[in-house]
Symmetry: C2
Subunit: 290 residues, 2 copies
């Protein structure tokens, strides 16, 4: 938490989680959390909690994991042992609301030594589809490692640094499991999926293929290996809050070769499991269970 | 559609809807759509389709409305007669992905004379909670009626004009149903719910109450009556695509009096039905059923 003043309300309502300090015992519910994994899709984050539960030998007999945020459909949240799994929707504003409430949740629960990892999907640049990118730096659409934010009408710039050691540890984990290509590279974070990422197949597109490819090649030359829509504010907020953080995204396609995600459902499902496998192994290893 | 070139792929995959022209007959499925209502929450958009079905005398006997986007959990989509109801998640990037794919869907389905209305929730400024705001202009966090977007790394500015006639028609509908306070006013669209809207209760807050109130009062003086997170790109994209559009949001609280949404669940549920009632009446009236 980075706050000018103390919060002075009698209770704190985390509106978009449908949780509140007046109605929920945060230390009892969340006090043992050490790893928080976040991702866009609610069903993917539910699948992740079932996977990690199995991996840690904490699987429930019925295989059922209740949604802690069942009182709302804004986000979904699941927990097993020291692992919390939370969905964040798509885009910077959506993940930023979730992170404000998540950081407050961890604070109210008196958690310490937390590691937060975003496990997501992305478009790759110059990589075989299915490759996993661990983010070195999150950069904006002009390839600068910064996040611009407007606060009280004024633009401020925040650093998007991520934990270097953690990125290296994750790369080492990928080498140990040795199942798919993983690289450390820069991740470009955009505010739009179509025009913002130079796609030619949006409803609005006022540039041509040559201009698109030139932009993507400039991105590649600056060190960008994948493009997604949440990493910059994720890095900035974790940074400001002093939380160790990483971004691990699989690439669903190579943007130098096309715009549409047209791989079969089964292949895409397998790709989306790769960040889960990598981060699952990392958590097991961190807990001395490998 | 506003495109430099023709789309040249054999089929168009609307990835985030899990629909595609190669697998779905768009004219048969959507050709009769005349009204599209969009809102953040999937469950609210499902409730809306059930409500409008009743109102139009098109209610299904079982009261069940299947999710057309059941193949994904990114968005939910429902249809009854000429009305399509689609969720868009929270924030500009999330609604922008949905709108790209929605505009392509309507184009492939050969729809014409479409009206798109966003029915949402917002924070009010200087209004009794529960008041409904019909947006005159969507303005940015510095109160300018524009939407800044980065395309191929360059910032471009788009107009956020909305249809004046449609706003007046909607206000007239509210007078006719006469159940809650409705005003036409400017809507501020921000990229963040906490710092971006001057809240004091986020995980990060580096300003004080006086600075916050000064900002909100400046917003009020410039004509802003509510704050939400999607209207600017919604207005810009509908504008560019030549679609008649309106934004109708209920205010859940008066931001001059606080930051937390602490009204009871039942009161909030009733507030959230107000834009649905207003737009439902408007659709009935447009179809000559009032």
């Amino acid at each position: 938490m980075r706050r000018k003043g103390k919060m002075n309300s009698l209770q704190d309502i985390l509106y978009h989680f449908a949780l509140g300090t007046g109605t929920h015992d945060f230390p009892a519910l969340f006090g043992d959390v050490k790893f928080v994994c976040v991702g866009g899709s609610p069903s993917r984050m539910k699948a992740f909690i079932a996977y990690i539960a199995e991996e840690l030998g904490l699987g429930s007999s019925g295989g059922d994991y209740p949604n802690i945020c069942a009182g709302t459909d804004r986000y979904a949240m699941y927990k097993v042992g020291p692992v919390l799994s939370v969905s964040h929707g798509m885009g910077i504003p959506s993940i930023s609301i979730m992170l404000h409430e998540l950081i407050k949740l961890l604070y109210h629960a008196k958690c310490s030594n937390i590691t937060i990892i975003r496990i997501g999907t992305s478009g790759g640049i110059g990589l075989e589809p299915g490759s996993v990118v661990i983010t070195r730096q999150s950069v904006d659409a002009t390839f600068k490692p910064q996040f611009e934010q407007v606060v009280l009408g004024k633009t401020i710039i925040r650093s998007t640094n991520l934990d270097e050691e953690l990125a290296k540890e994750l790369l080492q984990c990928s080498k140990e499991i040795n199942q798919f290509n993983t690289v450390i590279g820069n991740t470009m974070c955009t505010l739009d999926f179509y025009e913002g990422q130079g796609r030619l197949d949006g409803a609005i597109c006022l540039y041509n293929e040559e201009e698109k490819l030139q932009y993507l090649k400039e991105a590649y030359d600056s060190g960008v290996r994948n493009i997604e829509m949440e990493s910059s504010v994720f890095a900035a907020m974790c940074n400001l809050s002093g939380v160790r953080a990483a971004v691990v995204c699989v690439t669903l396609l190579n943007r130098l070769e096309g715009d549409q995600i047209s791989s079969s459902h089964d292949i895409l499902v397998e790709y989306q499991q790769r960040p889960q496998k990598l981060v699952g192994y990392f958590i097991k290893k961190s807990l001395g269970k490998v």
